[in-house]
């Protein structure tokens, strides 16, 4: 805990230096971040940003617990979103909502499984297969909303809006989808800590050769974990498009960097379910506060991205030192 606080301070100091160097007032900027993130208006924006970030962080934490890195979150997220739009446009009412959510999760799960099979059957490392599959998925979705699924009434690369009866009810700045994400975190936490399956994933994370020797079958585990990971990512995509503006806009899921920030949160928390949640919320607050800071002080919002990255770097270095001290070579 003390390490986290010290590194946080260090990151803030560095950020202040950067701000001062570009002619801005650090205290004013930091103050704007905090009020922006947690103030009466800001808290809504923070929440809206936090839902997908927490969702993606958890999605990526699931396989990370076993030491497996899913770098294809963006592709799975986008495929989930576009599948939800397709299904939601054709199935009415509450059934449509449910079907869209299921379709989103299924699409993400299937796509992630493809990458998993690439590793288990074809020997292509997961790091590589998930990453390489991500780009074609995003390109495919980009194609769909420019041609077959394009919104006829607009020149922008976006799909048509979902009909009014196939939308998640709003809850302030978010939708009831927030409960789905919270439920996912809770399920992950319980499975991880209290079930044999979660135990086996953790054992694999502690030592892959130990796990194999103890009878834990890696190929099956890889596919199951990746399917859950992709399914969760796809679900997040579905939840986002079932909320305002109720359509798939090319790049809208990518530009906010939900996936990469989520990955950082999961890495930071060593994929611990609750730790990932806390880290994701923290990063979401920081990012959302950054937007508000820019509106208030003209300091570019990218500062918060810089702060986040610096914080992670300092923490990684500090963790490394702690690890070295425990295992003197």
């Amino acid at each position: 805990m003390r390490t986290v606080l010290v590194t946080l301070l260090g990151a803030l100091v560095l950020g202040a230096v950067l701000l001062a160097a570009t002619g801005a007032n650090p205290l004013e900027a930091y103050g704007a971040i905090v009020t922006g993130a947690f103030g009466p208006d800001g808290i809504q924006d923070t929440l809206a940003y936090a839902v997908p970030v927490v969702g993606m962080a958890t999605a990526l934490a699931v396989p990370l617990r076993a030491g497996m890195v899913n770098l294809g979150g963006e592709g799975q997220l986008v495929l989930g979103a576009i599948s939800a739009i397709v299904v939601g446009s054709h199935v009415p009412g509450v059934l449509g909502i449910v079907a869209a959510l299921v379709a989103g999760a299924a699409a993400g799960a299937l796509y992630a499984t493809v990458a998993a099979v690439c590793e288990t059957r074809l020997g292509v490392p997961l790091l590589v297969s998930t990453l390489l599959l991500s780009y074609p998925a995003m390109s495919f979705a980009a194609y769909l909303v420019r041609f077959p699924m394009r919104d006829a009434g607009s020149s922008l690369p976006q799909s048509e809006q979902l009909p009014p009866d196939v939308r998640l009810p709003a809850l302030g700045s978010v939708t009831v989808g927030v409960f789905l994400v919270v439920a996912a975190v809770a399920v992950f936490a319980v499975v991880d800590a209290r079930t044999p399956a979660g135990f086996e994933a953790r054992v694999t994370g502690w030592g892959p050769r130990f796990a194999a020797y103890a009878g834990i079958e890696r190929p099956g585990l890889t596919v199951r974990l990746l399917a859950c990971s992709g399914g969760l990512a796809g679900l997040v995509g579905a939840v986002v498009v079932l909320g305002f503006p109720y359509r798939f806009i090319d790049g809208a899921l990518i530009t906010p960097q939900y996936t990469w920030i989520g990955l950082l949160a999961a890495l930071l928390a060593a994929a611990n379910p609750l730790g990932t949640l806390v880290a994701a919320v923290f990063f979401a607050a920081l990012t959302s506060g950054g937007f508000a800071m820019e509106r208030a002080t003209q300091v570019p919002r990218e500062l918060t991205a810089v702060l986040q990255a610096v914080l992670i770097i300092f923490l990684a270095a500090a963790t490394g030192v702690l690890r070295k001290r425990r295992n003197p070579a």
Partner: protein, 290 residues
């Protein structure tokens, strides 16, 4: 469809990836899993444009790109080698930092958003090698990237430093017990990789085009990481992998010409690389860190 211009444009697109892939391979040989190539290249690109703009010379831009990227690579060197931080975590964070930092700076230094370009910005001149088709008409950095391949091979296999860093990569404890400093060699390869990524960024922002736009590396650093794995961190293996990717990308542009949507051609290089990986899958099994 397949003509000289295709190969020429492939060669031009190849250089940044080749520099970055050589950087990654060098680090891999010394036991450092360096995935911060993407971010370091981006920093180099920005510094290159900034240098060229303020001094009015593309070559000053190149020098600044190398200096900035090398300095930037100190983050990985200090964080990973001195402090023992996890290379993957640091790599992802360094990449994100680069995006945030360069976007921040493009606002505060150039006062614009998205892309900075100006007709007065000096780019790298194309060299005319007696008009040889395909091979002529590239910037000096492109030719330098080709020379870097045998250069790396000589360094690795014929120079004492190369022998030592290969030992450091294979068994750091053994190297240390023979008096070879693991820290010094790992710092060395990371900083050298930084310099190479600086050249990659300079070629990207001053050679292929003459502008800086946010996130302009667009995944090339990641492709370089894949090239290192495909090429098993061997100088000529990495070259082959990078050439494959360059060709796929150039071929993709051709597909656009016959009516395929741009998105299909965007995806083409990745699909091609995946296929190549399937085909060589058995060879990859030993080499990847988990």
């Amino acid at each position: 469809m397949v003509d000289a211009a295709l190969f020429a444009s492939a060669l031009g697109a190849l250089a940044p990836i080749l520099f970055a892939a050589l950087a990654g391979a060098l680090c891999q040989r010394a036991g450092v899993f360096n995935i911060s190539l993407e971010g370091t290249m981006l920093v180099g690109a920005f510094a290159g444009v900034a240098g060229s703009w303020y001094v009015g010379s593309a070559w000053v831009g190149v020098v600044l790109a190398v200096v900035a990227a090398t300095g930037y690579s100190l983050i990985l060197a200090v964080g990973h080698v001195s402090f023992g931080g996890d290379a993957i975590v640091l790599g992802v964070a360094i990449n994100l930092l680069a995006v945030g930092l360069t976007s921040f700076l493009i606002r505060t230094v150039f006062g614009t958003r998205g892309t900075f370009s100006d007709p007065a910005l000096q780019g790298l001149p194309d060299l005319d090698l007696g008009g040889i088709p395909v091979l002529s008409g590239h910037s000096l950095l492109v030719y330098l990237s080709w020379l870097a391949v045998p250069g790396l091979a000589v360094l690795l296999y014929r120079h004492p430093w190369g022998l030592r860093l290969r030992g450091v990569g294979e068994r750091p404890d053994a190297a240390a017990s023979l008096g070879v400093s693991v820290t010094r060699y790992r710092y060395g390869v990371i900083l050298a990789a930084g310099a190479l990524c600086g050249l990659a960024g300079a070629q990207l922002a001053l050679g292929n085009v003459t502008l800086f736009s946010e996130n302009m590396t667009a995944g090339r650093g990641w492709i370089a990481v894949v090239a290192v794995m495909l090429g098993r961190a061997l100088p000529y293996g990495v070259l082959a992998a990078a050439v494959l990717f360059g060709l796929a990308e150039a071929f993709g542009f051709r597909l656009q010409g016959i009516g395929l949507p741009q998105q299909a051609t965007d995806a083409a290089p990745y699909v091609v690389t995946l296929l190549a990986l399937f085909l060589s899958s058995a060879r990859l099994r030993g080499r990847t860190p988990t």
